[in-house]
Symmetry: C2
Subunit: 277 residues, 2 copies
C-alpha cells in the first residue's frame, strides 16, 4: 500500500516534521480549529490541531510531567491549581497525582478537544472524571481577568503563541495571572523552543519580569515539537521554583528531584541565549 | 517559484525532517557516498551525506564544540588528538583552539568530503590548513589497529552507525582505541539520540564499560539531527571526564564550564534511560 504521510508545516519552524501514518483515526472541524488524530507505528496515536502536533501517546508524558511537576514540587502546599488550555487532559492527569490538590480548574476554549481526547486518548484524559476537576469553556485571558487570589499555581498549557493563544503571552495577561494567584503562587507557561523561538522566549522572560519578582526558565528535550529543546517559563511571587520543596513520591517516568534541578539552564547559557539573545 | 524540498528519510528515525531548499549548491557521487550541499534560508549551507544531514552553517558549532571541548577540558594536558571521521573539519577546528595540542590526526575514509568542505564550508574546514593537522585517508577501525599508546584523546565523529561507521562501535574497536591511547587517555564518540536510539546508546555504554574503567554519557540539544537529544559516550582510563581540569579561555558559543558539568545526565535519567532502557 502507498504510504500516507502527515507533514507539519509550522510557520515558525524552519524544519518540517513528517510522520508516516498507519491509520487516520479522526478528522473534525471543531468550532475553533481542525482536529486530526492519526496513528503512527512508532508514536501511537497523535493529536494534531490546525496542522501542529500537540501530543503523541509515546512521549506525551515528558511534556506533561515537566509542565506540572516542577511547579507542584516547588510549591510547599498546592491545593488550588488552574490549567489554561490543556484540553487533552495530560497536564491535569499529572496535577491530580498530587494529593494536596483539592481543586483543578481547566479553562479550555475548545471543549470539543476534551471530548475527542476522552474518546481517543482515554489514558491521557483520565482526569476529567475526577471529582476535583472543574472544566470551564472560556478564553483563558478572560477567565484570568475575573479571578482574584484564588490559585496556588497557574499552568498555561496552550497551543503555539499565534492566533488565539497570543493573548496569553502579553504583560497585561501576566498581570492578571499575578492577581489570580495567592500570595505565594507560581505561574508557568510552555514557551516554545530555544532553537527556533529564542526571541519569543526572551520576550516572555522579560514580560514576566515586569510583573513577578522571580522569573526562571527550565527546559525539557521533546522529540515531537519543532525545535525540541523545549522551554517552560516559570514566575513566582515568593518561592524559588528551582528548589524542590516536597520530595517526589509519585509514579513518574521522566520527572525526578535531580531532573527538576537539572532542568534549569546553566547560567552561561541563560545569559547568552535569553538575556543577550 | 515552486518550493524545492529536501527530506531526510533516516531509516532509524521515526520522524522525517524536511528543509525548504533555496539553492542546490553541489551534488556529487564520491567513491563512498552521495554528497549534497544545499542552501536553506534559515540554516545557511547544509551538508548531506547519503541522504542524512551532517551539518548546517547555523548550528554546527553546537555539536562540534561539545564533541571536542568536553574531553579537551577534562584532560589535564592534551597534546595528541585523533579524530576519526570528521571530514568536514568542524571538530578539528575546535580541537586546534587548544594551544596544548601539538598534533591532530584526522582519519577520514572519504577525503572528497574534506575537499568539498574546504570549498563550500571554508569557516568549518579551516583547520585542514593548520600545520599541526595530519589528514589520513583510511578506515578508522583499521587505523586504530596499528596505533599504540600515542594519543591523549580519540574523538569519533562518524556518520550514523549503519554501513561503514558500524565497525567503530564494536567492543573490539573499543579495545583498539584503548590500546591507541596513552595511560591517561580518553575516548569519546557521538552516539545518536536518546529519544530514537536509546538501545544503541545503552549498547555502546555497556561495550565501553567492558574495556574502560570509567564510562559516562553527556548530551547536547541539536536541532538538525533526528531525535535531537544528542548523546556523546565518553570513556576514560584515569580522569573523570565530568570534571573540568583546565579553565575555559576559548571563544565558544555554547560550551562553558557550567555547560560541561550540566551536559552529564542526572543520575535518575541515566538509570532509567540507559541502564534499564
Amino acid at each position: 500500500m502507498s504510504p500516507l504521510f502527515f507533514r507539519e508545516e509550522d510557520p515558525f519552524a524552519p524544519i518540517e516534521y513528517g510522520y508516516r501514518v498507519e491509520e487516520l483515526v479522526c478528522r473534525r472541524k471543531t468550532k475553533h480549529q481542525e482536529l486530526v488524530i492519526f496513528k503512527s507505528a512508532y508514536f501511537g496515536r497523535v493529536l494534531v490541531l490546525d496542522g501542529v502536533v500537540q501530543l503523541t501517546e509515546k512521549d506525551e508524558y515528558l511534556y506533561h510531567e515537566m509542565l506540572a511537576h516542577v511547579p507542584l514540587h516547588a510549591h510547599p502546599l498546592p491545593t488550588d491549581v488552574l490549567i489554561i488550555g490543556g484540553g487533552d487532559g495530560g497536564t491535569l492527569r499529572e496535577v491530580l497525582k498530587h494529593e494536596t490538590v483539592k481543586r483543578a480548574v481547566v479553562v479550555e476554549m475548545d471543549t470539543e478537544v476534551v471530548q475527542a481526547c476522552r474518546e481517543f486518548f482515554p489514558a491521557v484524559a483520565v482526569g476529567f472524571a475526577d471529582p476535583r476537576t472543574q472544566l470551564v469553556e472560556m478564553d483563558g485571558a478572560e477567565y484570568l481577568a475575573r479571578a482574584r487570589g484564588e490559585f496556588d499555581l497557574i499552568l498555561v498549557d496552550s497551543t503555539d503563541p499565534v492566533g488565539p493563544a497570543q493573548s496569553l503571552f502579553t504583560t497585561s495577561c501576566f498581570s492578571r495571572a499575578f492577581s489570580a494567584l495567592k500570595a505565594d503562587g507560581m505561574f508557568v507557561a510552555q514557551t516554545e523552543s530555544l532553537h527556533f523561538h529564542g526571541d519569543f522566549v526572551s520576550r516572555v522572560q522579560r514580560g514576566l519580569g515586569e510583573v513577578f519578582g522571580l522569573v526562571k526558565l527550565y527546559t525539557a528535550p521533546l522529540a515531537t515539537y519543532a525545535g525540541n529543546w523545549w522551554t517552560f517559563s516559570i514566575a513566582s511571587k515568593r518561592h524559588d521554583p528551582e528548589h524542590v520543596r516536597r520530595s517526589c513520591q509519585l509514579p513518574t517516568r521522566y520527572y525526578a528531584e535531580d531532573v527538576h534541578r537539572h532542568a534549569f539552564l546553566p547560567g552561561s547559557l541563560y545569559r547568552r541565549l535569553v538575556e543577550e539573545g
